[in-house]
């Protein structure tokens, strides 16, 4: 990806694809509290997600993992009653600062959702590069072709769809749709990719493909993944954060650290109970 468009780097004033090929970004959530109306769902959560690494957020349902993830790319504020406190810094810059554009924050910090959401009437090809169109980035047909192939390859979908790129994205199977969404997110070269239980609706084979994709993204983009699947967290992530919310209290991070250590020797009893399947 980094070398893909190097031939065109010179003599271009207009924004083109080259400028959007970026290094993975380090993401820091600092002292995040979040509310829906009067209901507090996160209480002073801080987490550092290292550049190029895969960080897994685990914990039982309703502990605020997804809310936390949505705060990381400003999707949280789409809900009318939602509010928050704290800062989210992408390589030091607060994405909630007044000078920051919401569109550029979301382009830098992409997101893959629990339910695959390709644009159903758009072709696979157009779905993959829909981010370019939405961001108003112009590209020649050759550049687009390259980008489509590269993104679909990264999402390990290319071989399955290369002969039917003009067919609608809605016609793919669930697992393929989810990988199309990953390809679509990767096509805008995000520095961070957030994944909200990307495999919870997928069959084991598709899950494996997605996990392989995550594996191959290591070093190219920072990945933050919410998962209910302990084995998945153990397989794909290098860092892990365990969220927990006791009854009627906001969610907090109980334990955070290297995944291996956390699964082998959890410091906290609650973490130990959870990773060993005793509750949750």
């Amino acid at each position: 990806m980094k070398t893909l468009f190097s031939a065109r780097t010179e003599n271009h004033d207009e924004p083109d694809l080259v400028e959007h090929v970026q290094q993975p970004g380090g993401l820091v959530a600092d002292n995040i509290s979040a509310w829906f109306g009067d209901h507090k769902v996160l209480d002073r959560v801080s987490l550092s997600m290292a550049a190029g690494e895969v960080t897994a957020l685990i914990g039982p349902s309703g502990c605020g993992k997804s809310t936390f993830l949505r705060i990381l790319n400003r999707m949280h504020e789409m809900i009318p009653s939602a509010s928050l406190f704290g800062e989210v810094r992408l390589d030091g810059d607060d994405i909630y600062a007044p000078s920051q554009r919401i569109t550029s924050a979301r382009r830098n910090i992409g997101m893959v959702f629990q339910k695959a959401n390709p644009f159903p009437a758009m072709s696979i090809y157009d779905n993959t590069i829909s981010g370019l169109k939405l961001a108003g980035i112009r590209a020649t047909r050759a550049e687009k072709d390259l980008l489509v192939e590269d993104s679909l390859r990264k999402a390990s979908l290319w071989d399955e769809v290369k002969d039917r790129l003009e067919q609608p994205g809605g016609g793919l199977s669930g697992g393929q749709q989810q990988r199309l969404c990953i390809a679509r997110s990767l096509a805008v070269s995000p520095r961070v990719l957030l994944m909200d239980e990307p495999c919870s609706a997928l069959d084991p084979t598709s899950t494996r493909r997605v996990e392989e994709t995550i594996e191959s993204l290591r070093g190219q983009v920072t990945v933050v993944i919410v998962t209910h699947n302990m084995q998945q967290a153990a397989r794909v992530s290098s860092q892990c954060a365990f969220f927990l919310a006791a009854q009627n209290t906001p969610g907090v991070i109980v334990e955070y650290g290297a995944t291996e250590a956390m699964f082998a020797h959890p410091q906290d009893d609650r973490t130990s109970d959870y990773v060993n399947g005793r509750f949750g």
Binding site: N73, M75, M78, P80, T103, S104, A105, R106, R107, G110, M111, F113, K115, N117, P118, F119, P120, A121, M122, S130, G131, K133, L134, A135, G136, P168, G170, G171, C181, R184, S185, V188
Partner: protein, 348 residues
């Protein structure tokens, strides 16, 4: 390996001799319908049949009554004659039908952007109480009787819009439809009456009447655009307009076409408001800003009182033409909606 083939033998038809002759044939499955289902079926099918029957009866009634008049002048002359004087056996729908279509087109050109904008504003921009208020106001617009729109158009709108009509014809008069015969832009005291009672003003009033129904249909389809796809677009860094263009509009395409066709159908049939505003002429007038227009429905309303026997049959023939035209519009609409691959369908 053997285990797999054994399983396969069980689940597929055996083809080894020991299996014996294959006597299996599909058995009949008789489903006993529950009483509640039978009642539901009866009530719903009765409703469907009655609606269809009424539709056919209207068509048959119009055809039977129109035959006398159409036979008297011949179908070709009936379609091509502009005058309307059944008394002298010289009449046709060329002028009134053209007038109907022109007024409906003016109405659509005005109403389409207005209702698109309104429905997008309601679904995508307005929030909370303001949103609900707007929805009820638009629905209220639909409840205003057309005669009230007609009176308002005649007494208020016309006087205020003539200036715009004049401006349009002065600057764009070189486009044939905006030309006004006998108008002299250099005249310091222009004759305003030249611009009144025109296709344009009738079309404007009809536009206001069809905006509510078009808006409700579009609003309904836009508001059902899935939240997942909306978030997908936003997560790619889309602006609100970008999200609307790539998610909401494609999803609501069926609703936009359907609403437009519904509006067109209503515009073609609108009677009393047009009747009040236009000054009826029986000649094809493509100059939409110029005084004088006509429509099938207005013609029927205008001549109904003085008609009997043959002249009534002539009006029935005009009504039949309008009936067929609206049928064509509606069938075209459903075909277009059926063919267009709306996001709404692939979601199912």
């Amino acid at each position: 390996m053997t285990a797999i083939s054994e399983t396969a033998d069980v689940t597929t038809r055996p083809d080894y001799p020991e299996a014996g002759a294959d006597t299996a044939s599909p058995r009949l499955i008789k489903q006993v319908r529950e009483r509640a289902d039978r009642t539901f079926r009866l009530v719903s099918s009765t409703g469907g049949v009655i609606v269809l029957a009424i539709m056919c009866l209207v068509g048959i009634f119009l055809t039977v009554n129109a035959v006398q008049a159409i036979a008297a002048v011949g179908p070709v002359e009936f379609l091509t004659t502009q005058e309307w004087s059944p008394e002298t056996n010289h009449f046709g729908i060329a002028a009134v039908l053209t007038g109907t279509v022109l007024i409906a087109l003016v109405a659509l050109v005005v109403a389409l952007p207005l209702s698109l904008g309104t429905s997008l504003f309601i679904t995508e921009v307005a929030r909370g109480g303001f949103q609900r208020t707007l929805v009820s106001i638009v629905d209220l617009m639909a409840a205003v009787p057309s005669v009230v729109y007609g009176l308002w158009g005649l007494a208020f709108l016309q006087n205020n819009v003539i200036g715009f009509a004049k401006w349009l014809s002065t600057w764009f008069g070189w486009i044939p439809i905006f030309a006004v015969d006998g108008a002299d832009p250099a005249n310091p005291l222009p004759n305003n009456a030249l611009y009144g009672s025109s296709t344009f003003i009738a079309g404007l009033v009809v536009a206001l009447m069809i905006v509510p129904i078009m808006t409700s249909m579009m609003r309904e389809s836009f508001s059902r655009a899935p939240i997942g796809e909306r978030e997908g677009a936003y997560a790619l860094g889309a602006t609100r307009w970008g999200m609307i263009r790539s998610v909401v509009l494609p999803f609501g395409k069926g609703g936009v076409i359907g609403g437009t066709m519904l509006g067109l159908g209503r515009a073609l049939g609108e009677t009393i408001a047009i009747y009040l505003i236009i000054s009826p002429i029986f000649a094809i007038n493509f100059h939409i800003l110029q005084k004088g227009s006509n429509s099938v429905a207005a013609l029927i309303a205008l001549r109904y009182g003085e008609s009997n026997g043959f002249t009534m049959s002539a009006l029935m023939a005009a009504g039949l033409a309008l009936f067929i035209l609206t049928m064509i519009v509606n069938f075209t609409a459903s075909t277009i909606i059926g063919r267009s691959r709306s996001g709404a369908e692939s979601e199912a």
